[in-house]
Symmetry: C2
Subunit: 156 residues, 2 copies
């Protein structure tokens, strides 16, 4: 029951365009039952959306870096994520524990573009930056192995 939802999410995480017909075959349910379950998973927010996974080298953004940021003025309100969200080179923004406040993952075309981006980050959010350049990516976006208990109602 809950087991089938895990299976569906795993299958779609691996192949986001899998058809309902194939999902039905894999789960042993009817097509319409799978259909309802997927729609419910989408509505509950378990599935947040679907994306094509892109090769960043191929689309002209071969340079990836992690940029850790720290506020210049620690007493100022921390609205860095909103201040930075207009910079489309930023793929992700994580608030983190530790010496620095956020880790950004960025994708740019060149070292020069990275330099310009760092200036924009510093200026937009009034932060200092520490940058770690990615040399290669053995793997990324691996599909999760889903825990047995879905949702927040874990009692065990």
């Amino acid at each position: 029951m809950e087991e089938i939802d895990r299976r569906i999410v795993t299958l779609l995480a691996t192949d986001g365009r899998m058809s309902f017909t194939d999902l039905a075959k894999e789960t042993g349910l009817s097509v319409s039952a799978v259909h309802q379950r997927v729609r419910r998973l989408e509505k509950r927010g378990v599935i947040r959306g679907y994306a094509a996974l892109v090769d960043y080298d191929e689309i002209g953004l071969p340079l990836t870096a992690f940029v850790s940021i720290k506020p210049i003025d620690p007493s100022a309100p921390d609205d860095a994520p909103e201040r930075l969200s207009h910079l489309t080179a930023i793929e992700a923004c994580h608030s983190v524990a530790g010496d620095e406040s956020y880790i950004l993952k960025v994708r740019v075309a060149s070292p020069l573009a990275l330099e310009e981006l760092l200036q924009q980050i510093r200026a937009s959010a009034n932060v200092s930056t520490r940058t770690t350049v990615v040399l290669s990516t053995p793997y990324d976006y691996r599909s999760p192995v889903i825990e047995k208990e879905l949702g927040g109602d874990v009692t065990g």
Copy 2:
């Protein structure tokens, strides 16, 4: 022409399940022309696949962390990615410039699970670890804004 491919990739990066019919409407091409272009983009590796984006809180993996690793024995061959790939909690592995050799992104159920994972990482790859816990994620998996020149044959 190349412009249309950028558009198609952008649309599919944002909605990985968009139909060819809708892609055709958005690009002004016929359905079969879009179909061929998507298949070509997949074959060229510009589109590497499709994935459902999952809410990690909802699937029982609410704790995200970045784990930087450094070999204990720097003279030993560096095969950390292969040695670690069996650990499914590791979502991504990036080789990086700087003091440490790799940055791992991991997803676990709890602090205890993180502790156990770190032990497995250290044992599997003979490395020391430095862990940065993610407190919240303002945004992640944002779709790229694609450069005008696709592929490696940039002449301008």
